[in-house]
Protein backbone atom coordinates (compact mmCIF):
# COMPACT_ATOMS: atom_id res chain seq x y z
CA UNK A 1 0.00 0.00 0.00
CA UNK A 2 1.32 3.35 -1.00
CA UNK A 3 2.04 5.48 2.02
CA UNK A 4 1.37 9.14 2.03
CA UNK A 5 0.43 11.48 4.87
CA UNK A 6 -3.07 11.84 3.46
CA UNK A 7 -3.47 8.11 3.04
CA UNK A 8 -2.16 7.47 6.56
CA UNK A 9 -4.57 10.02 8.01
CA UNK A 10 -7.46 8.35 6.20
CA UNK A 11 -6.50 4.96 7.58
CA UNK A 12 -6.01 6.27 11.10
CA UNK A 13 -9.33 8.11 11.04
CA UNK A 14 -11.11 4.97 9.92
CA UNK A 15 -9.24 2.95 12.51
CA UNK A 16 -10.25 5.35 15.32
CA UNK A 17 -13.83 5.08 14.11
CA UNK A 18 -13.67 1.29 14.18
CA UNK A 19 -13.76 0.74 10.44
CA UNK A 20 -10.25 -0.74 10.42
CA UNK A 21 -8.73 -3.19 12.87
CA UNK A 22 -5.40 -2.85 14.68
CA UNK A 23 -3.98 -5.31 12.19
CA UNK A 24 -4.98 -3.07 9.30
CA UNK A 25 -2.80 -0.27 10.66
CA UNK A 26 -0.09 -2.37 12.31
CA UNK A 27 2.57 -0.66 10.23
CA UNK A 28 1.52 2.73 11.53
CA UNK A 29 1.25 1.51 15.12
CA UNK A 30 4.73 0.04 14.92
CA UNK A 31 6.10 3.34 13.71
CA UNK A 32 4.28 5.36 16.37
CA UNK A 33 2.95 3.45 19.42
CA UNK A 34 1.44 6.68 20.83
CA UNK A 35 -1.32 6.29 18.25
CA UNK A 36 -3.08 3.87 20.62
CA UNK A 37 -3.38 6.69 23.14
CA UNK A 38 -4.69 8.98 20.40
CA UNK A 39 -7.42 6.46 19.61
CA UNK A 40 -8.41 6.12 23.26
CA UNK A 41 -8.45 9.89 23.74
CA UNK A 42 -10.34 10.52 20.52
CA UNK A 43 -13.07 8.08 21.48
CA UNK A 44 -13.33 9.58 24.95
CA UNK A 45 -13.56 13.10 23.53
CA UNK A 46 -16.23 11.92 21.13
CA UNK A 47 -18.25 10.55 24.03
CA UNK A 48 -17.89 13.87 25.89
CA UNK A 49 -19.02 15.81 22.83
CA UNK A 50 -22.10 13.61 22.47
CA UNK A 51 -22.89 14.14 26.14
CA UNK A 52 -22.60 17.93 26.03
CA UNK A 53 -23.74 18.84 22.54
CA UNK A 54 -27.03 18.06 20.88
CA UNK A 55 -27.73 17.35 17.24
CA UNK A 56 -31.11 18.96 17.71
CA UNK A 57 -32.22 21.68 20.12
CA UNK A 58 -35.65 22.92 21.05
CA UNK A 59 -35.87 26.40 19.56
CA UNK A 60 -36.93 28.89 22.25
CA UNK A 61 -40.41 30.25 21.51
CA UNK A 62 -40.73 28.08 18.42
CA UNK A 63 -44.07 29.47 17.27
CA UNK A 64 -42.76 33.01 17.52
CA UNK A 65 -39.64 31.92 15.64
CA UNK A 66 -41.80 30.71 12.74
CA UNK A 67 -44.05 33.76 12.96
CA UNK A 68 -41.13 36.16 12.65
CA UNK A 69 -39.79 34.36 9.61
CA UNK A 70 -43.19 34.55 7.94
CA UNK A 71 -43.51 38.24 8.81
CA UNK A 72 -40.08 39.11 7.47
CA UNK A 73 -40.70 37.23 4.24
CA UNK A 74 -44.08 38.90 3.78
CA UNK A 75 -42.63 42.31 4.52
CA UNK A 76 -39.87 41.86 2.00
CA UNK A 77 -42.31 40.52 -0.58
CA UNK A 78 -44.91 43.23 -0.13
CA UNK A 79 -42.76 46.35 -0.15
CA UNK A 80 -40.51 47.83 -2.82
CA UNK A 81 -38.23 49.29 -0.22
CA UNK A 82 -34.86 47.69 0.27
CA UNK A 83 -35.28 44.97 2.89
CA UNK A 84 -33.92 45.62 6.32
CA UNK A 85 -30.38 44.38 6.35
CA UNK A 86 -29.44 41.44 8.53
CA UNK A 87 -27.20 43.74 10.57
CA UNK A 88 -30.08 46.09 11.39
CA UNK A 89 -32.33 43.19 12.33
CA UNK A 90 -29.56 41.79 14.49
CA UNK A 91 -29.52 45.05 16.44
CA UNK A 92 -33.26 44.97 16.95
CA UNK A 93 -34.14 41.35 17.47
CA UNK A 94 -31.91 40.68 20.48
CA UNK A 95 -33.82 43.43 22.28
CA UNK A 96 -37.10 41.69 21.47
CA UNK A 97 -35.87 38.30 22.56
CA UNK A 98 -35.14 39.70 26.00
CA UNK A 99 -38.61 41.17 26.46
CA UNK A 100 -40.47 38.23 27.86
CA UNK A 101 -43.79 39.70 28.86
CA UNK A 102 -46.58 40.46 26.40
CA UNK A 103 -47.00 43.91 27.89
CA UNK A 104 -43.32 44.68 27.56
CA UNK A 105 -43.31 43.69 23.87
CA UNK A 106 -46.43 45.66 23.14
CA UNK A 107 -45.08 48.67 25.05
CA UNK A 108 -41.92 48.56 22.97
CA UNK A 109 -44.01 48.44 19.80
CA UNK A 110 -45.96 51.45 21.00
CA UNK A 111 -42.77 53.40 21.69
CA UNK A 112 -41.46 52.43 18.27
CA UNK A 113 -44.72 53.65 16.77
CA UNK A 114 -44.50 56.95 18.61
CA UNK A 115 -40.91 57.44 17.52
CA UNK A 116 -42.00 56.63 14.00
CA UNK A 117 -44.65 59.32 14.19
CA UNK A 118 -42.18 61.96 15.30
CA UNK A 119 -40.26 61.37 12.10
CA UNK A 120 -43.28 62.26 9.99
CA UNK A 121 -43.42 65.59 8.24
CA UNK A 122 -45.00 68.35 10.41
CA UNK A 123 -47.04 69.82 7.59
CA UNK A 124 -49.60 67.27 6.69
CA UNK A 125 -52.61 68.32 4.79
CA UNK A 126 -55.96 67.23 5.99
CA UNK A 127 -56.34 65.14 2.86
CA UNK A 128 -52.89 63.55 3.17
CA UNK A 129 -53.83 60.21 4.64
CA UNK A 130 -50.86 58.04 5.41
CA UNK A 131 -50.96 54.62 6.92
CA UNK A 132 -47.75 54.11 8.81
CA UNK A 133 -46.74 50.51 9.25
CA UNK A 134 -46.78 49.46 12.83
CA UNK A 135 -45.55 46.14 14.14
CA UNK A 136 -46.12 44.27 17.35
CA UNK A 137 -43.62 41.44 18.04
CA UNK A 138 -46.22 39.64 20.10
CA UNK A 139 -48.44 37.84 17.62
CA UNK A 140 -51.44 38.17 19.95
CA UNK A 141 -51.24 41.96 19.73
CA UNK A 142 -52.34 43.88 16.63
CA UNK A 143 -50.81 47.30 15.99
CA UNK A 144 -52.47 49.78 13.64
CA UNK A 145 -51.76 53.37 12.77
CA UNK A 146 -54.29 55.38 10.80
CA UNK A 147 -54.60 59.08 10.02
CA UNK A 148 -58.06 60.25 10.97
CA UNK A 149 -59.25 63.25 8.95
CA UNK A 150 -62.14 64.10 11.21
CA UNK A 151 -59.97 64.09 14.28
CA UNK A 152 -57.00 65.64 12.53
CA UNK A 153 -54.88 63.09 14.29
CA UNK A 154 -52.91 59.94 13.77
CA UNK A 155 -54.51 57.21 15.75
CA UNK A 156 -52.37 54.41 17.09
CA UNK A 157 -54.21 51.37 18.37
CA UNK A 158 -52.89 48.29 20.04
CA UNK A 159 -55.45 45.56 20.19
CA UNK A 160 -55.04 42.39 22.20
CA UNK A 161 -53.25 43.68 25.27
CA UNK A 162 -54.27 42.22 28.55
CA UNK A 163 -56.82 44.40 30.32
CA UNK A 164 -55.45 46.59 33.09
CA UNK A 165 -57.10 48.24 36.01
CA UNK A 166 -58.47 51.60 34.88
CA UNK A 167 -57.54 53.05 38.23
CA UNK A 168 -53.89 52.44 37.53
CA UNK A 169 -51.70 55.27 36.39
CA UNK A 170 -49.92 54.59 33.14
CA UNK A 171 -46.53 56.16 33.10
CA UNK A 172 -43.49 56.15 30.92
CA UNK A 173 -44.54 57.53 27.57
CA UNK A 174 -45.10 61.10 26.55
CA UNK A 175 -45.39 62.55 23.08
CA UNK A 176 -42.28 64.61 22.36
CA UNK A 177 -44.23 67.16 20.31
CA UNK A 178 -47.47 68.80 21.42
CA UNK A 179 -47.80 66.73 24.52
CA UNK A 180 -51.52 66.47 24.19
CA UNK A 181 -52.68 62.96 24.28
CA UNK A 182 -55.49 60.95 25.64
CA UNK A 183 -55.14 57.55 27.18
CA UNK A 184 -58.27 55.52 26.83
CA UNK A 185 -58.60 52.26 28.63
CA UNK A 186 -60.79 49.60 27.17
CA UNK A 187 -61.79 46.75 29.37
CA UNK A 188 -62.24 44.42 26.46
CA UNK A 189 -59.25 45.09 24.33
CA UNK A 190 -56.77 46.77 26.59
CA UNK A 191 -55.07 50.07 26.17
CA UNK A 192 -55.87 52.54 23.40
CA UNK A 193 -53.77 55.60 22.90
CA UNK A 194 -54.74 58.61 20.85
CA UNK A 195 -51.89 60.89 19.93
CA UNK A 196 -52.65 64.30 18.54
CA UNK A 197 -50.09 66.20 16.51
Amino acid sequence: MKHSPANDEDRLTRWIDGELSDADVSDLLEADPSLMALKTEANAIGADLRQEFNAEEKVPYGDFFNHQIRERIQEEDSTNDAPVTWREEAQVLPIFTKMRTAFGLAFLAMVAGILGFTMLQANRGLNDTQVVRAFAPDSSVTAMAIWNDAAGATVLTLDGLKPIDTAQTVAGVSAPLNPEFDWQLSESSGLLATLTF
Binding site: E41, I45, N54, P94
Partner: protein, 196 residues
Protein backbone atom coordinates in the same frame (compact mmCIF):
# COMPACT_ATOMS: atom_id res chain seq x y z
CA UNK B 1 -33.30 12.16 7.53
CA UNK B 2 -34.55 10.19 4.52
CA UNK B 3 -37.30 11.92 2.61
CA UNK B 4 -39.49 8.84 2.35
CA UNK B 5 -39.64 8.33 6.12
CA UNK B 6 -41.37 11.64 6.66
CA UNK B 7 -45.03 12.35 6.29
CA UNK B 8 -45.55 14.23 4.11
CA UNK B 9 -42.14 13.78 2.46
CA UNK B 10 -39.97 16.87 2.07
CA UNK B 11 -40.31 16.58 -1.71
CA UNK B 12 -44.08 17.04 -1.46
CA UNK B 13 -43.74 20.07 0.81
CA UNK B 14 -41.06 21.57 -1.41
CA UNK B 15 -43.28 21.22 -4.49
CA UNK B 16 -46.07 22.99 -2.65
CA UNK B 17 -43.67 25.73 -1.56
CA UNK B 18 -42.49 26.24 -5.10
CA UNK B 19 -46.12 26.67 -6.07
CA UNK B 20 -46.35 29.48 -3.51
CA UNK B 21 -47.81 27.61 -0.54
CA UNK B 22 -46.22 29.26 2.49
CA UNK B 23 -47.97 26.92 4.94
CA UNK B 24 -45.96 24.09 3.43
CA UNK B 25 -42.80 26.06 4.12
CA UNK B 26 -43.93 26.72 7.66
CA UNK B 27 -44.11 22.97 8.10
CA UNK B 28 -40.56 22.58 6.78
CA UNK B 29 -39.37 25.28 9.16
CA UNK B 30 -40.98 23.47 12.08
CA UNK B 31 -39.50 20.18 10.92
CA UNK B 32 -35.90 21.39 10.69
CA UNK B 33 -35.60 24.41 12.95
CA UNK B 34 -34.30 22.30 15.84
CA UNK B 35 -31.47 20.80 13.81
CA UNK B 36 -30.51 24.06 12.13
CA UNK B 37 -30.61 25.97 15.40
CA UNK B 38 -28.52 23.27 17.12
CA UNK B 39 -25.90 23.26 14.37
CA UNK B 40 -25.53 27.03 14.48
CA UNK B 41 -25.61 27.19 18.27
CA UNK B 42 -22.93 24.50 18.54
CA UNK B 43 -20.75 26.54 16.22
CA UNK B 44 -21.12 29.95 17.82
CA UNK B 45 -22.35 29.18 21.38
CA UNK B 46 -24.66 32.18 21.67
CA UNK B 47 -28.42 31.59 21.68
CA UNK B 48 -29.49 35.07 20.57
CA UNK B 49 -27.19 35.06 17.56
CA UNK B 50 -28.08 31.44 16.80
CA UNK B 51 -31.76 32.44 16.77
CA UNK B 52 -31.08 35.30 14.35
CA UNK B 53 -28.87 33.24 12.09
CA UNK B 54 -31.30 30.34 11.99
CA UNK B 55 -34.08 32.70 10.93
CA UNK B 56 -31.80 34.26 8.36
CA UNK B 57 -31.00 30.83 6.94
CA UNK B 58 -34.69 29.94 6.59
CA UNK B 59 -35.45 33.26 4.92
CA UNK B 60 -32.61 32.75 2.46
CA UNK B 61 -33.80 29.23 1.79
CA UNK B 62 -37.31 30.47 1.01
CA UNK B 63 -35.93 32.97 -1.47
CA UNK B 64 -33.75 30.33 -3.10
CA UNK B 65 -36.47 27.66 -3.25
CA UNK B 66 -37.42 28.40 -6.86
CA UNK B 67 -33.89 27.31 -7.79
CA UNK B 68 -33.92 24.11 -5.72
CA UNK B 69 -33.79 21.22 -8.15
CA UNK B 70 -34.09 18.22 -5.80
CA UNK B 71 -30.75 16.76 -6.96
CA UNK B 72 -29.93 16.66 -3.26
CA UNK B 73 -32.16 16.19 -0.27
CA UNK B 74 -33.90 19.30 0.96
CA UNK B 75 -32.27 19.17 4.39
CA UNK B 76 -28.80 18.81 2.89
CA UNK B 77 -29.49 21.87 0.74
CA UNK B 78 -30.91 23.79 3.72
CA UNK B 79 -27.94 22.81 5.84
CA UNK B 80 -25.56 24.29 3.27
CA UNK B 81 -27.43 27.59 3.39
CA UNK B 82 -27.25 27.59 7.18
CA UNK B 83 -23.56 26.65 7.02
CA UNK B 84 -22.79 29.55 4.67
CA UNK B 85 -24.83 31.96 6.78
CA UNK B 86 -22.93 30.91 9.89
CA UNK B 87 -19.58 31.21 8.19
CA UNK B 88 -20.44 34.70 6.93
CA UNK B 89 -21.28 35.65 10.49
CA UNK B 90 -18.05 34.20 11.86
CA UNK B 91 -16.05 35.95 9.17
CA UNK B 92 -17.62 39.30 10.04
CA UNK B 93 -16.99 38.68 13.73
CA UNK B 94 -13.43 37.73 13.01
CA UNK B 95 -12.86 40.93 11.05
CA UNK B 96 -14.42 42.97 13.81
CA UNK B 97 -12.19 41.43 16.42
CA UNK B 98 -9.27 42.25 14.18
CA UNK B 99 -7.39 39.06 14.68
CA UNK B 100 -5.41 37.49 11.89
CA UNK B 101 -6.11 33.93 12.90
CA UNK B 102 -9.57 32.74 11.94
CA UNK B 103 -9.46 30.45 14.90
CA UNK B 104 -9.61 33.46 17.21
CA UNK B 105 -12.70 34.88 15.53
CA UNK B 106 -14.97 33.86 18.36
CA UNK B 107 -14.58 36.03 21.39
CA UNK B 108 -14.06 34.30 24.68
CA UNK B 109 -16.94 36.15 26.28
CA UNK B 110 -19.28 34.40 23.86
CA UNK B 111 -18.37 31.12 25.47
CA UNK B 112 -20.01 32.33 28.68
CA UNK B 113 -22.91 34.07 26.95
CA UNK B 114 -26.22 33.48 28.71
CA UNK B 115 -27.98 30.49 27.27
CA UNK B 116 -31.60 29.47 27.18
CA UNK B 117 -32.50 27.80 30.47
CA UNK B 118 -32.41 24.05 30.12
CA UNK B 119 -33.96 21.31 32.18
CA UNK B 120 -32.47 21.33 35.67
CA UNK B 121 -30.40 18.41 36.92
CA UNK B 122 -28.78 17.63 40.26
CA UNK B 123 -26.56 20.49 41.42
CA UNK B 124 -23.38 18.42 41.53
CA UNK B 125 -24.08 16.93 38.10
CA UNK B 126 -24.82 20.40 36.83
CA UNK B 127 -21.56 21.80 38.17
CA UNK B 128 -19.55 18.96 36.69
CA UNK B 129 -21.35 19.18 33.38
CA UNK B 130 -20.83 22.93 33.22
CA UNK B 131 -17.15 22.41 33.85
CA UNK B 132 -16.92 19.83 31.09
CA UNK B 133 -18.91 22.01 28.72
CA UNK B 134 -16.70 24.99 29.36
CA UNK B 135 -13.64 22.88 28.82
CA UNK B 136 -14.97 21.49 25.56
CA UNK B 137 -16.07 24.95 24.42
CA UNK B 138 -12.60 26.31 25.07
CA UNK B 139 -11.01 23.41 23.20
CA UNK B 140 -13.39 23.72 20.25
CA UNK B 141 -12.78 27.45 20.15
CA UNK B 142 -9.18 26.74 19.27
CA UNK B 143 -10.26 24.93 16.11
CA UNK B 144 -11.08 26.72 12.92
CA UNK B 145 -14.77 26.66 11.96
CA UNK B 146 -13.95 24.06 9.28
CA UNK B 147 -12.48 21.64 11.80
CA UNK B 148 -15.03 22.43 14.49
CA UNK B 149 -17.89 21.76 12.13
CA UNK B 150 -16.71 18.39 10.86
CA UNK B 151 -15.84 17.01 14.29
CA UNK B 152 -19.28 18.01 15.57
CA UNK B 153 -20.95 16.48 12.54
CA UNK B 154 -18.97 13.26 13.02
CA UNK B 155 -19.22 12.89 16.77
CA UNK B 156 -22.48 14.63 17.67
CA UNK B 157 -24.61 14.03 14.59
CA UNK B 158 -23.01 10.65 13.87
CA UNK B 159 -22.73 11.28 10.14
CA UNK B 160 -20.69 9.14 7.78
CA UNK B 161 -17.77 10.69 5.93
CA UNK B 162 -19.64 10.82 2.61
CA UNK B 163 -22.65 12.47 4.29
CA UNK B 164 -20.43 15.15 5.79
CA UNK B 165 -18.73 15.67 2.43
CA UNK B 166 -22.09 16.14 0.71
CA UNK B 167 -23.38 18.53 3.34
CA UNK B 168 -20.46 20.91 3.18
CA UNK B 169 -19.58 20.26 -0.44
CA UNK B 170 -15.99 19.05 -0.04
CA UNK B 171 -14.24 15.79 -0.92
CA UNK B 172 -14.25 12.80 1.44
CA UNK B 173 -10.48 13.10 1.68
CA UNK B 174 -10.84 16.66 2.95
CA UNK B 175 -13.39 15.52 5.51
CA UNK B 176 -11.12 12.80 6.83
CA UNK B 177 -8.14 15.08 6.97
CA UNK B 178 -10.12 17.68 8.94
CA UNK B 179 -11.44 15.06 11.34
CA UNK B 180 -7.94 13.73 11.93
CA UNK B 181 -6.54 17.20 12.57
CA UNK B 182 -9.45 18.17 14.81
CA UNK B 183 -8.97 15.09 16.95
CA UNK B 184 -5.27 15.69 17.35
CA UNK B 185 -5.83 19.32 18.23
CA UNK B 186 -8.57 18.48 20.74
CA UNK B 187 -6.36 15.84 22.32
CA UNK B 188 -3.63 18.46 22.83
CA UNK B 189 -6.08 21.06 24.17
CA UNK B 190 -7.70 18.64 26.59
CA UNK B 191 -4.46 17.16 27.85
CA UNK B 192 -4.72 18.95 31.19
CA UNK B 193 -8.33 18.02 31.64
CA UNK B 194 -7.68 14.41 30.75
CA UNK B 195 -4.22 13.50 31.89
CA UNK B 196 -3.35 10.22 30.13
Amino acid sequence: MADDTLDPPDSVLVSRCQAGDYDAYDELVTRYRGKIYAMIYNMIRNDADAWDLAQEAFIKAWKALPKFKADSEFYTWLYRIAHNTTYDFLRKKSNKVGKDEFDDGIRRDMVDAPTTPREASAPDEQAERTDLRRTLDAALEKLSPDHREVILMKEVEGLQYNEIAERIDVSIGTVMSRIFYARKKLQESLKEYRPS
